[in-house]
Structures are given as C-alpha cells and as structure tokens.
Subunit: 408 residues, 2 copies
C-alpha cells in the first residue's frame, strides 16, 4: 500500500473537487493552502500555532536544507518532523527551482554546455567534466545544466555543488518528508519554444530517473509519496504533452509549475489537469494568492503553496476581505478595529490595526509575527470556503462573493 | 481604598519576603520577574503566551510611548491594556532613565544650567528659558536639566521635548498602567558626591510633585498606584538618606535604582530596604539576571525587571542551569537535547538545540522568538523557586544549589 492516498469527496461542475489527501503524518482536506517552510520553519510561526491557524501541511525546500543544515544532520535528528518539532504533513520541493533561481541562472548565466556569459572562452558542447570548480566559481552565482544534472554554486558561500535526479531523491529520503518531488529543470519565462521543449524532455527523463530512484528503496517507498512535475513553460502544447507523458508514469501525485511567472500557467491549468489521472492529487507549485486559488480550484488543483502571504506579512501587507492593507500607512494609526473583523484568528480577536501599525512603525518584531499569522489564516480560511463551495455546489457563488469585494 | 496592596505571606530570616502584590489587573506572586515591554510589547512574545511562560506583569516605558504612538492615542485606545491586548498587571517607568540615557546625557552632554559641551557660549547659571530649540538641536542628542524638569531631544527625530514631574504623571495617567513611577533624575555612575546629592535632592522634590500630581486626580488615584524611586548613586549614605526621605511620603510602593551600573546598588540593597516601610512592595529597576535576583530577594526586593533576557534571546544567548549557552556556536549544531532539559517551557519541550542553532545560523525569525520565550521562562521559573525557598525557609539552600551549577 502506498503511503499517500487521495479520496475525492465531491466533484464540482467544473474540474473542481473536494477531497482528502492522506499522508503518514495526517490528512489534508482539499483544496488546501500548504504553508511555505523553506528552511524547516514557517517564518515567524511556531508549529504549535499551525493547527489553530488552519495550516494542514507545509512545504520545505531540498536545496536550502541540503546547503544548511544538511540532509545528514536532519536524518540523524530523526527526519524533518522531529527536527522542526511538527508532526503534520510535510512536502519537500526537489530544489530544481531554487538551483536555477538562486543560481541567478535563467536567461543569463544558465547555460547548457556553454560557458557563463562574460567567459573569455566559450566551451559550448564540451562535456560538463571540463567545468572546473575554478571556472564555475570565478563567474559567481550560476547553474550549469547538462543532461545528467545541474552543477551550481551555493548562494551562501559560492561553493560548488551538483544535483542529479538520483541525488535529489537521496537527499529528500534523508530529509524524510511525507511527499517528495522529482528533480526538474525550471526554465526562464523568456526561453524560446525550442529550449522549452528540450528542457521539458530533460525534465521527463529526470522524472523517470527520480521515480526509479525512489521506488528502488523499499523503506522510503513505503513511507514517502512522490510527485511528478509538469513543465512546458508558457506553451500550451508542451504543457499538455508534459501532462500526458507524466500521467503515464505511476506517481502518487503531480506538481504543476515550477515556472517563474504565474501568467505562464494559470490560463491553461484546466487543460493540463484534464490530462492527469483523476484519482491523483495535484499541487500547484509556488502559486497561491487569493484570486489564484479560485482559478486553480476550479481547474482541479487540490493544494497550493506560495511565499507571498508570509513575505507580505513581514513587510506589513495584510489581507482583508476588501483587499490588501498596508498597515504602516498613516490612515491606520488610530484605527481601533481588527485587521479583518470577519477573521477568527487570534490576531484579529485580540489586536487592533492601530496596535499593529505601532509595532511596525517602531520596528517591533511582534508586528511581522502577528501580520504573518493573520495572512496565513486568511488564506487557509479562504481554502476552507472554497472547499465548502465545492461541497455545496456553489463555488461560483463563493468566488463571486469574494472577488466582488476583494480589490487586488 | 488604594488600587495597589501588598500582602506578605512569609518573612525569611534575611530581609526576604514572599507575598502577593494586588493590582487592578490581577495579582503578582512575589518575588517576581516583571518582563520589559518598553513599547507596549515584550519583544517577540505575544500576550497570549505570557501566562504560559509564567509572566505575571510587564513594565512599559513612558518616554518611548510618549514619543510613539503618543499617550493620547493610547488613552483613546482605552489605555495600555486594551491597546496591547493584555489584561494583566502593567507598570510604566516614568521615563527618567530613558530621557537621560537616550539623550546620551550622563557625564557628557547632560548639564545643569550649562551649555552642552562644544558650545561656543557657555551659559551657566542662566535660566533654562534661554535654551532655544535651535541651540538644543544643534548639539544633537542631549538632555538639559533644571530644577523644574528636563528638556531633551527625541532619539527618533531630534525634535525637542520637555518632561516635568507633573507632565510625566499626566502622560502615565493617559497610558493607564496599574503602577506608575515618579519622575526622577538618573545620574551618571561617574558623577561626584556633590552632584549626586544635588540630583538626589532634586529627585526628592520631583517625587513630592509627582505624588501630589497623582493624588489630586481622584480617578487615577483610584485606579493606578504610584511608586517613589530611591536614588543616591553609589553612595551608601545618600541611598539611605533617599530611602528615609521617600519612606516618609505615602507611596504605594518603591522603586530602587535607576542607576547605570548595578554595582552601584546591589551591595547596599539591604541597607536601603531596611529604611523602607515593610508593608510596601519594592521593585528593583532594571536589574534581574539570575545571580542578581538571589541577592535582591535576600535583601527584601519583591519585583525585578531587566532587558537582558529578551535582548540575550534575540542574539541567541540562552539560559541553562549551567549558565549561558551561545546557541550559534558550532558545538550545538548536532546537539539534539533541549536548551534546558529541566525547563517546562514549550521551547524546551518541543525543540532541540540543534534546531534552534539552525534557525539562528540561517537567519530565521523563529530563532529569536524561541530563545526569548525560553529565557523568559527560565527567569520566571527562577523567581518561583526563590519564592518557594522563602516560603519553605530554605532560600540559602535554593541559592547555593542554583549558583553551584550556574557559571556566569
């Protein structure tokens, strides 16, 4: 029996569905927002608050955890659940996205069999084995791709590292999340069709190798589920081809995305999802603002993740039914109402906009803590409403009701 | 009936006593550590955690809250309890200490009837009315004292302000804490005997004016208690004289301190307290590290406050029974034990040193949050043990037991 299962409770008239994603560390009622916990911590929120804020699962990052503190340490700690002190469902993204984005790769220094720009000696078509550490680090942050994997420099200290599909899976096995992802190549949104196809083909080959590497470990195969990742950039035909290709492989679920702009994918989600097995869960990687979750849920997405709510919280941008409020603005100095009077979170029950404005204005760390907690609850609450909408056959009404008030 | 009362439950063989300090917002079992909440927030700890961490009361700061967000705003919010979302006992320090320390005053730019140093035109013995805003601000941060009050510049924007005893009390009335303090002059630890005497006499005159300003308001007199502050710097005879002088005035309690170095006062606390009315509570201002609280409690101090535990927490210095641990140090990278295995706080129950090390090393805000929470609990727990020691007539044993292991 697989460690991950998905039960659909109700299908909407669109592709939407409400379900339950079962993991070794608990169930996730879907659609759900998965909080970003890149370095095995959701910035500013202690795990004991997760349940209270409606957080059903988190997604950590293989690339970051590999660099610090290292997957071996996390394994010795007893896995990521024990390490971070939370016993709920955890995913790890494979690190593909970060390898490319933190390598400042796409469009500039990234190159397949080609030297980084400004290199005096282009070495196109040479074997990656000629890439010396000296060459790589002398050009600063970069990611150099070949068909076998990616060589990249650490954004922390410039040191040289290499990920292959097998290595990413090995690291994710040691980290020990409930759901792991195949290693994929994330392309630049400006990459042309030919490159996108080439990258997609490589991602498919890597998906196959990632899956094989996972399935060959009985222990990890029994305790961790694995998701494939659909790529194809902004090209509809490539996305559909990618979905079809991966659908034929026996993954426990599917991630959509890994693109650098959400415009690439939101409009064709329904086409992609139509190609995927209906009984497998689908996660939309890195996209999860309120308006996106309505689009995604209607197109059959089950889980979302996004750094934006926590990042916004840290800078004092908070969600309300009327849209984002910049709490530092002078107009909130004497606003003795909650951030969102309809919200059930402890922040809205206990504190005023005026107080949180004061905390941000005086640089007090409680400001980002409270704003982040509220933003998280706002999004989990929204997915609960979306789920209710699907269960009650009125998702359109829930969406219109929300979007009518909400100003982006 | 006064809003503040103090009941002694047990007297030790030294001057130590265990008691209950009753305030309009709840009781404080003493000896107790009062958490510093300068700007109406204890850095990194939401009020909902206060009780869990054994925090019975906090002390906010008049000077900081006056500058931002302003006492009028806090009054309109319904007072500091409503403003910060906590319904427990709150003190406000009068702001005297901050006026001088943030004005970078003592020993340098502070001057009584004398121009700040580097002034082209000394104006000694002239009336303070000749001090123009231009003169004051042209010399940067400063505090200029006269017998009526202090003119000082804001550390935030350099603007000019003035506190008198009456003004400090008015501000503290609007802030609305349960216990307020008289406005006092804090001297430099290097000030000579003559200046200390002069400053002490001025502090006594200001204490009388502060008390009168408080008692004349029936409303505030009924809802807020007022503490006098013993000064006298490092001179034993002045401290005793100050204690005697203030003991004759009808305060609800007494603050000791306001000095810039704790060496000035710890050794003569017993002499000072012997002069104070036994039935009034005594607060040691700004001093409260573990070793200090044993000294203070034995000398008859009832409550302590100190910024050090929260400040240490933010930089990753955590209390343990063996002394301070710098959690960022490499030796804790794989230490899978709690910060303090004897501690009952949620941090020690749920997280390892290794994880908190990781959080600090990767710059995650949960690190300072967890370290601060533990440090707070360590100190409140220590005062609970001190209290038990007094109640059980074995404070010496508790102290020896603790200090034997604890390395400063």
């Amino acid at each position: 029996m697989r460690p991950i299962s998905f039960e659909i409770e109700k299908r909407g008239k669109s592709l939407a569905r409400a379900g339950v994603l079962k993991t070794p560390h608990g169930d996730i009622k879907t659609p759900a927002f998965i909080a970003v916990g890149t370095k095995a911590t959701v910035k500013g929120i202690a795990p004991e608050k997760f349940a209270e804020l409606g957080m059903q699962g988190i997604i950590a990052n293989t690339h970051h955890l590999y660099l610090s503190p290292g997957e071996d340490l996390i394994e010795r700690a007893g896995g990521i659940h024990a390490f971070m002190g939370w016993d709920g469902p955890i995913m790890t993204d494979s690190g593909g996205f970060q390898v490319f984005s933190l390598g400042e790769g796409f469009g500039k220094k990234i190159s397949k069999f080609a030297a980084p720009e400004n290199s005096a000696e282009p070495v196109a078509d040479e074997s990656p084995s000629v890439w010396s550490e000296e060459l790589a680090t002398s050009h600063g942050k970069l990611a150099i791709i070949d068909d076998d994997g990616v060589t990249f420099t650490s954004h922390l200290d410039g040191s040289l590292h290499r990920f292959t599909p097998e290595r990413s899976i090995e690291i994710q096995h040691k980290i020990g999340a409930d759901i792991i992802y195949v290693f994929d190549e994330c392309t630049s949104p400006t990459a042309d069709y030919d490159y996108q196809r080439e990258a997609m083909d490589r991602t498919h080959a890597w998906a196959k190798r990632s899956l094989a590497a996972h399935r060959q470990s009985h222990h990890h195969n029994a305790s961790q589920g694995i998701y494939g990742i659909i790529q194809g950039g902004r090209y509809e035909d490539l996305r559909i081809e990618s979905a079809k290709h991966l659908a034929d492989m026996d993954f426990d679920g599917y991630g959509i995305g890994g693109s650098f702009t959400k415009d690439d994918i939101l409009g064709i989600l329904d086409l992609v999802n139509s190609e995927l097995p209906e009984d497998k869960p689908r996660h939309l990687l890195g996209i999860g603002e309120p308006e996106d979750m309505f689009v995604g849920a209607a197109a059959g997405i089950d889980t979302f993740d996004c750094v934006v709510p926590t990042r916004r919280g840290r800078t004092g941008s908070v969600y309300t039914p009327e849209g984002l409020v910049l709490i530092r603005n002078a107009e909130y100095k004497e606003d003795f109402t909650p951030i969102d009077s309809e919200c059930d979170c402890f922040v809205c029950k206990q504190f005023t906009r005026s107080y949180i404005h004061h905390l941000f204005r005086t640089g007090e760390m409680l400001g980002p803590i409270l704003a982040t907690a509220h933003n998280m609850r706002f999004l989990t609450c929204l997915t609960e409403r979306i789920r209710e909408g699907i269960l009650n056959d009125n998702l359109d009404h829930v969406r219109d009701d929300f979007m009518h008030r909400y100003k982006k």
